[in-house]
């Protein structure tokens, strides 16, 4: 793993000098700013029982579904389409180092974007001057959720990018997988047929994998080792599958 840091720093440098990164950042922050400003309207009309931070993080799926595929879709598929991956691998670097380097850079940008949204809460705090409005529990819990779940979401994006030479296909596949993970589990868990005892294990699995339930726990300040392990092991698995898939494709290219 000697070259991992070299690849990571190169990827991050490329991201930071790319105009696309700033365009994406401006769009992301504009959308999230718009969402946050609109939800604060409700808080100015009537008292609400949920902290603004919780409502804000409940919309995490919006940037995840669109930003994660955009951030990751070109990372490996573009290298493969241009044939630069084979060239890169002639250097003394391994497939693992390449995948992890690209994964690390995408995760860095993902966290940078989400980290920028902390400015919204800072502005709110300065404007409202009400400490109670800015409940630290949901705020800290929400960002921990974003950090932990982001590991898995980005890994899924990298995995789908490793599946195809086409960026568009990788992006759509990433969107579909993330959609299934975020909304599909809730849908499956609510199927009445799973109420039967024979389906109890499936029900348990789907209940344990519901992302919105994880978010709810994190935002209440509860950290559950099962949920943390789900995201950590999921991201490791997605990365391993990306590496193995990439090696298989290189073998047959």
């Amino acid at each position: 793993m000697r070259h991992f840091l070299t690849i990571l720093s190169h990827e991050i440098r490329m991201l930071l000098v790319s105009p696309g990164t700033y365009i994406a950042s401006v769009l992301f922050l504009s959308v999230m700013g718009f969402v946050f400003a609109n939800l604060l309207d409700e808080y100015s009309h009537a008292p609400q029982e949920i902290s603004p931070a919780v409502v804000f993080f409940q919309l995490f799926w919006l940037p995840v579904l669109f930003m994660v595929p955009l951030l990751t879709m070109k990372s490996i598929s573009e290298e493969r389409r241009h044939g630069t991956l084979e060239t890169l691998l002639t250097a003394p670097v391994t497939t693992t180092e390449v995948v992890l380097g690209k994964y690390g850079a995408a995760y860095f940008l993902y966290m940078l974007l989400w980290g920028s949204t902390a400015a919204f809460f800072y502005i709110l705090q300065r404007s409202a001057g009400d400490a109670q409005l800015l409940d630290t529990g949901p705020l800290v819990g929400g960002y921990i959720f974003i950090a932990v779940s982001g590991l898995f979401f980005i890994a899924i994006g990298i995995f789908t990018s490793s599946l195809s030479r086409s960026q568009a296909v990788a992006g759509i596949a990433g969107f579909a997988l993330l959609f299934v993970l975020i909304f599909g589990m809730d849908f499956v868990a609510d199927i009445d047929a799973l109420g039967r005892e024979a389906f109890e294990p499936i029900k348990t699995v789907t209940h344990g994998a519901r992302v919105f339930q994880h978010l709810d726990d994190f935002c209440r300040g509860i950290v559950d080792t099962r949920q943390v392990l789900f995201y950590l092991s999921g991201s490791v698995l997605a990365l391993i599958l990306s590496i193995l898939g990439l090696e298989a494709k290189l073998l047959h290219s």
Partner: protein
Amino acid sequence: MSPFHSFRAARWLRTTNLVLQAVLFVAFFVGLNYLASHYAWRFDLTQLRRHSLSAETKSYLTHLGEPVRIIVTLSQEDADDPDQASIYRDVRGLLREYVYAADTAAAGRIRVDYIDVYQRPREAEQLNLTANTVLFLSGEHGERRREVPLADLYRRRDKQRIAFLGEQAFTAAILDVSSPGQKKIYFLAGHGEMDPNAVDPVRGLSELRDALRQRNYALDMLDLARTRAIPEDAAVVVSVGAQTRYESYEQETLRDYMTNRAGRMAVFFQPAINPTGLEELLNDWGILADNVLVRDRGADGRADNGDLILSNLTPHPATQLLIENQLVLRFGATRAARPNPARATDPGLAVTPLVATGATAWGEREYRRRLHEFNPASDLAGPFAVVTAAERVKANDLRFSVPVGRIVAFGGADFVANGRLRAGANAAIVFSTLNWLVDRDPLLNLPARPVERFQLALSRDRLRHLRYMLLFAVPGAAALLGLLVYWTRRK
């Protein structure tokens, strides 16, 4: 050349190897998460652990004897009730903690099902479900059932929900359906004792009665003059504020119950009634109930209305909650109930002063006088105990002792009456004392969770300013940074 030595074969062999590795890692992922589901930890990072279940509930759940099924018929959205989503969220979040806490129980898992009675009418009919309720079922065929209506889940003021009482209601319901038998408390009657069925703030115990029923106790009255015996199912016998003396045969019945049947008893004295006839019995158990009225000249020991403030507590299962949370008691008229120094050497008797007065208090012997002054020659000098517990223990062959009787004497009675039960930690010490008497684990009183509300109080101009800042300041900063990078690179 052998086909196994060709590039083609080597490539497919390597591919198979990769596929097998992938299968192995998927299996590892599944196995790891399966293990994690059985050995999980859940941490509440909030400062006051406000989303965690109390130790009392956890104690019940870890010893849950049989599975409990919880059916929630609340729906997330209801046009008739705009608060429905909040209620649903509170209930769902709390029940998740119950399921997690009961996971460690040997036999008593908790399963929660969410059923919409309108979408699943057949099931609703089978289980006789109504909308907007939480139903607790236990027993082989769900024969023990208890419904918790939404009205019981919140404390309201001016039609607004101010506190969530879900944990109290759910724990009580779980205890109710999972316990085949209830512990029965007998309140002694016939001597002017306080009445569990009266709503009077001074002599009524209706609030205590309701709270005890909520904790799965069965209550009944017992007039020894009529029955002349303590029923077999008595878990605790309680005397609260007797105003006349117990007859000698009644004393003998109670003594027999305590000594020969390893009885459990709580005595709440009404000061200025002496003798009550129970002094002799308490003396057998190493407790001295002096005929004094507790007075306190210190500012810290007295409330504005003259109530005694008692914060001098000794560690004991009955006082654990109060010590941990630095709670204080508010007693009205009180006499002493202290360990008898003459019985301190009895090895089979453990006498613990639970609550004591401050050093500025004294026990006024001539309390019928108008003016109360501390007289060192005759009065009882503070500090001294006003609540004392005694436990008779018997060594057995297994090198540990087993309790063969417990009694707690309270110097006052009016602190459990409707008017004072909710003051300070009065209710907490009564419940934890009764739990200790009936051998339930050291239990804690369940606190209500306040319902928080968030509102943005800004003028129209400031709100508009905030909106512009959110819409333009942060994205603008990102755009500016991008332009700066672009300009630097061009140069």
